[in-house]
């Protein structure tokens, strides 16, 4: 989550849903919160009952819009125009919270003269390498910072083929102008950058009337100041765009300008759609980060030695100064006794990133025959993957495929049930893939934790034993490790050394020889190596190999034997401390030092959260302070102070080397220090802001046969298509289409179109239509509804087609797969695909009757 990670320091929701009760306004955008997060939405409903204004900005009128005070329909993919419009509105109307902005953000910091904005270079920032299609971020650094120490993506999501050795720049050496008047200070650059995002531009290209925009802007942007706060909730409606991270950045900038970060009722809630999606990036299932957002070492100079790696990723000032402690403790947890100072704690056994190993990257490799086998666990890519028709063809090129699931999903049955096989395009006997379907235990059948939206670890107990041969993930991974190590022992090749060096001594119990889940949580918490005592938190971790810790941000969850804080069930106070454990250190609202004035007093009585107690000389309040408890508000660091001691007492964003919230991102993003509007990879309009740069220059379309694109605009594909989920189903449907009580609630695939479009195309409600994109064609019932509104863009009508993606070819209810229409593409920072705004056409009738028309439309695609 680099959008929040770069702006504030940590890639996680900054507050908890119940804190929305403290908000004066809630902006929900890029999310259909009522439908996809109905339980968390109870707080929005309750806040609204207490007088909070709820705004929903979304192309569709959904169950969220229905109960919002204000619904603003906008064209899918025009979010940065709208959000940029809000930023401009705040600046032009002097609605920003000056004292907060001056002290807590980098608005005052001066950027060197050689930086050039997109406004100067017609849509690209300085540092663009047209050949490699990447940025060199040197000119984005602050004036005064040694730019020879080149900026490289911090924390996560790089994935270049070879990384040079460039140490982290020392961001504490900045120049600033506290009056915000210097023409090259971030504040003035921001003003210039967004000057053209006017209400008129929003009206013309988002399809939002000027009145509606100004009404929404006024409602949200006045929830700011010492006495008021507003919160923003988003989900995949922002993430899944070719500029998704920059959409989130816009929101993050807005919250800094309004002074809404780290305060009660403020913040940004990154809503997570599954039970432990936050957990899956904390202890990651991603290829480019290690647990606790440590960067995965990349092949090249940076990973030649552990020292190089530490130099590159740790900073002189700020919390990341401690990176050496976290990486060494992680290596000790991985390799135990084998990790010694002499062998750099086993750093060389860690795999190196050599290219794009993201989902999109390796699936294209699979299609090219470069992969032999695949494990699929907790995912159903045959339905959920982008361009899933192409992904199914990829599966058919593997030698072997292991699917661990509670049911036989489409991924496990593609070889005999997929539409390609049914239509005769693929023949079962010609698919070489050997498929192993292994039964998995459900969440009630195993112990463990969920880490939910608000970074809260909650323990869950096994309620019943899994049936038959079904086993937990812990069981599977442990025993797979045992078998692989057995195999490796007989094979002396050097590549097996890391596997053999692993500390793989988990206690197993019971008839199934199940590892003990609490013991794994203890390892994640961390312990001292000599006497195996649990550590009380990450401040106890050391870089000398005397501590081990599986994920430093989770440290403190199991501070002593018998004290599993994820299993706490005695909530106290408004924030519910005593129920579960929120990383880091049970802080419920991140950066909460910002809830006090620079001098340490609360901004106001109504919005007090954490403050400096002048008597006991400590930070105190309603939450665990996200700050060194004894660092006084007037603390000034000595010249050469390092780490947290290098940050002053009024710098709340303690993971950053300068302690600021970053309106401007000097280090860490691959597509610019400020957000700029680019159109989606397929769009009905040309980019109105930068006519010469239609799409995000750093995004990758991955064009190839089978993954083609329409032009922008394209007469063959005139409508904007957006995919989404419904309350009644769970993602790709493996856990809902198989259960009658859920399947019956949304039993068939449908698409949603406006009354006007239905009239234009003579579609009667309920009839079959075929939806066609440059990638594929599917059939669905047409649900004709005023909930999809025709928008006017550049004076012309633009229609949206809503496509839920829950159906597939297995289960109690079946239907065509929405994701067959999506392209494999990569956003530049997280390599996610664009699903929310692409182009399509709609014709009457089922697919089989429309083959000729489909062929005609797709003719001439590259």
């Amino acid at each position: 989550m680099p959008g929040l990670g770069t702006t504030y320091g940590r890639g996680g929701a900054t507050a908890a849903p119940n804190d929305l009760l403290n908000s004066d306004a809630i902006l929900i955008m890029g999310s259909n919160m009522a439908e996809n997060h109905p339980v968390g939405f109870q707080w929005v409903i309750e806040a609204k009952e207490r007088g909070t204004k709820v705004l929903h900005v979304d192309p569709r009128f959904s169950r969220t819009s229905a109960v919002a005070n204000i619904w603003v329909p906008l064209r899918a993919g025009s979010d940065i125009l709208f959000l940029g419009g809000l930023i401009r509105y705040v600046l032009e109307n002097n609605l920003f919270f000056r004292e907060y902005v001056v002290h807590y953000t980098n608005a005052s910091v001066i950027i060197p003269e050689d930086f050039k904005d997109t406004e100067d270079l017609e849509g690209i920032f300085s540092g663009w390498n047209a050949e490699k299609k990447t940025y060199d971020a040197k000119t984005w650094l602050y004036e005064g910072v040694d730019s020879d120490k080149r900026a490289t993506p911090e924390g996560c999501h790089g994935g270049h083929v070879e990384e040079g050795l460039d140490a982290m720049p020392d961001l504490s050496r900045y120049h600033q102008d506290l009056t915000l008047q210097h023409p090259r200070c971030v504040f003035q650059l921001l003003r210039k950058h967004f000057a053209r995002y006017t209400p008129e531009m929003v009206e013309r290209y988002c399809g939002v009337s000027k009145d509606a925009f100004l009404h929404a802007a006024k409602t949200f942007c006045t929830a700011s100041g010492p006495d008021k706060t507003g919160a923003i909730c988003y989900a995949l409606g922002w993430t899944q765009h070719s500029s998704g991270v920059q959409m989130i950045r816009c929101a993050a900038i807005l919250q800094l300008l309004l002074g809404n970060m780290g305060r009660p009722g403020g913040g940004i809630l990154a809503l997570r759609g599954h039970a432990s999606i936050q957990g899956s990036t904390d202890v990651p299932t991603l290829y480019d980060i290690l647990p606790g957002y440590l960067s995965m070492p990349k092949f090249g100079e940076e990973s030649k030695t552990l020292r190089n790696y530490i130099d590159k990723y740790s900073s002189r000032t700020g919390w990341w100064h401690n990176l050496d402690k976290y990486i060494v403790s992680l290596l000790k947890a991985y390799y135990g006794e084998s990790a010694q100072p002499e062998n750099e704690f086993g750093f060389h056994w860690l795999p190196r990133v050599t290219g794009d190993h993201s989902h999109q990257g390796y699936w294209l490799d699979m299609l090219d025959g470069k992969m032999d086998g695949l494990f699929v666990m907790g995912q159903n890519p045959a339905v959920a993957g982008p361009n899933s028709g192409m992904e199914r063809r990829g599966l058919g090129k593997l030698k072997w495929l292991v699917v661990r699931e509670m049911v036989e999903t489409e991924t496990a049955s593609f070889w005999y049930e997929s539409p390609e096989v049914k239509r005769g395009e693929l023949r079962t006997e010609e698919i070489p893939t050997e498929v192993f379907l292994l039964p998995a235990a459900g969440h009630a059948e195993k112990d463990g934790t969920f880490t939910n939206t608000q970074r809260l670890l909650q323990w869950r107990q096994k309620a019943v034993a899994p049936p038959g041969d079904s086993r937990s993930e812990n069981w599977f991974m442990y025993h797979l490790g045992v078998l692989l190590r057995e195999k490796a022992k007989r094979d002396p090749r050097p590549r097996n050394a890391g596997l053999l060096a692993l500390k793989w001594d988990y206690t197993i119990e019971g008839e199934h020889r199940e590892p003990i889940a609490e013991e794994i949580l203890q390892e994640i918490n961390g312990y001292t190596v000599p006497n195996h005592e649990l550590v009380p938190g990450f401040t106890a971790l050391k870089a000398d190999g005397s501590t081990a810790c599986g994920c430093w941000i989770y440290s403190g969850v199991f501070p002593k034997l018998g004290e599993n804080r994820a299993n706490q069930r005695a909530a106290k106070g408004f924030y519910g401390h005593g129920w579960g454990f929120a990383w880091p250190s049970d802080r419920r609202v991140l950066y909460n030092r910002a809830s006090a004035r620079p001098d340490g007093n609360p901004w106001s009585e109504r919005k007090k959260l954490v403050w400096w107690d002048f008597e006991s000389k400590k930070w105190t309040g309603l939450d665990v302070p996200d700050f060194t408890a004894t660092k006084p508000p007037d603390y000034q660091p000595p010249e050469d102070a390092e780490g947290d001691a290098g940050l002053a007492g009024d710098k709340p964003f303690l993971l950053h080397g300068d302690g600021f919230g970053w309106i401007w991102v000097p280090v860490g993003l691959n597509d610019g220090p400020l957000p700029a509007h680019y159109e989606p990879l397929e769009s009905p309009v040309r980019n109105p802001i930068y006519p010469k740069r239609q799409t995000n220059p750093a995004a990758q379309a991955k064009s190839r046969p089978g993954n083609e694109y329409a032009t922008s605009p394209d007469a063959r594909f005139p409508f904007v298509m957006t995919t989404y989920r419904l309350t009644e189903h769970h993602t790709a449907g493996g856990m809902s289409r198989t259960l009658s009580h859920l399947a019956e609630l949304q039993p068939e695939m449908f698409c949603e179109i406006s009354v006007e479009l239905a009239k234009d195309l003579s579609i009667t409600p309920g009839e079959w239509v075929t939806i066609i994109t440059a990638r594929g064609a599917i059939e669905a019932h047409a649900l004709v509804t005023p909930r999809i509104q025709m928008l006017t863009i550049e004076g012309k009508p633009v229609h949206h087609v809503g496509v839920p993606f829950h159906w597939g070819y297995s289960g109690l209810v079946k239907g065509d797969i929405g994701n067959d229409l999506i392209a494999i593409s990569e956003e530049p920072n997280v390599r996610i695909m664009e699903t929310k705004g692409l182009l399509c056409n709609v014709i009457r009738g089922k697919r089989a009757g429309n083959l000729e028309a489909i062929g005609e439309l797709r003719k001439g695609l590259e």
């Binding site: 009522a34 439908e35 109905p38 339980v39 939405f41 109870q42 409903i45 309750e46 609204k48 009952e49 009128f61 169950r63 969220t64 819009s65 229905a66 109960v67 919002a68 005070n69 204000i70 619904w71 509606a212 009404h215 419904l726 309350t727 009644e728 009658s740 009580h741 859920l742 399947a743 019956e744 609630l745 949304q746 039993p747 068939e748 449908f750 409600p765 309920g766 019932h781 649900l783 509804t785 005023p786 909930r787 509104q789 109690l812 209810v813």
Partner: protein
Amino acid sequence: MAFTAFLTDATICIGCKACEVACKEWNEVPEDGLVLSGFSYDNTQALGASTWRHVLFLEQPEVAGPQTADTKDPFRWVFLSDVCKHCANAGCLESCPTGAIVRTEVGSVFVQPDVCNGCGYCVVSCPFGVIDKRPEDGRAFKCTFCYDRQKAGLVPACAKACPTQSIQFGDLEELKQRGKNRVQELQDRGYRDARLYDPQETSVGGIHAFFVILGEPEAYNLPPAPQVPTVHLKSAWTSALISAAVLFAIICAAFAV
């Protein structure tokens, strides 16, 4: 034991259908058809033998009034979770010839599945169209008010699962008052068409499941003046007796001539 009731509030329902699912899970109610209705997101369509909670999706044009007091939306989409009303004078109970339908100590109307013989008299006697026969089984089923849970001191499954407290459960009189207060509060906040659905002065004699709705009850398939069919008994028997007497008189007259 005091009488209990449901208060279901359409103004805070988000249409998630958790009540429908919780009801079916707890009461082991079977699936009710895998058919796309095409009517908004309402594929359940109506209460029946295998649907004891039904979330209605009402799409109305702007003229119907705003959904939220200060909104400028061109239309509204209101959700309401319908359920058995557990009438004070219950048509189903009064028409049941076997005594399978009984009144419980919490005031609810309960169908004893082991006594029901599937005659179906109750089906036509319900003024709300709630109770129905399950074709594959033959017997009649409807909401049990989670009598088993109430006996164990638990809240009915639907109310327990509702994330926004749109479904509230509690003491009958208290909830009725809460409903009235809620409507007053909504009207004060600008929801001019907010009202409590709790028909009085009808032969039903009061219901144990009230609804806070926006606009006319007919739009929610709620009859404005529900009547128990048995109120027609007196006039029906009177007409029958008069007809019989007249017929008898004519016959007598015929023989007398």
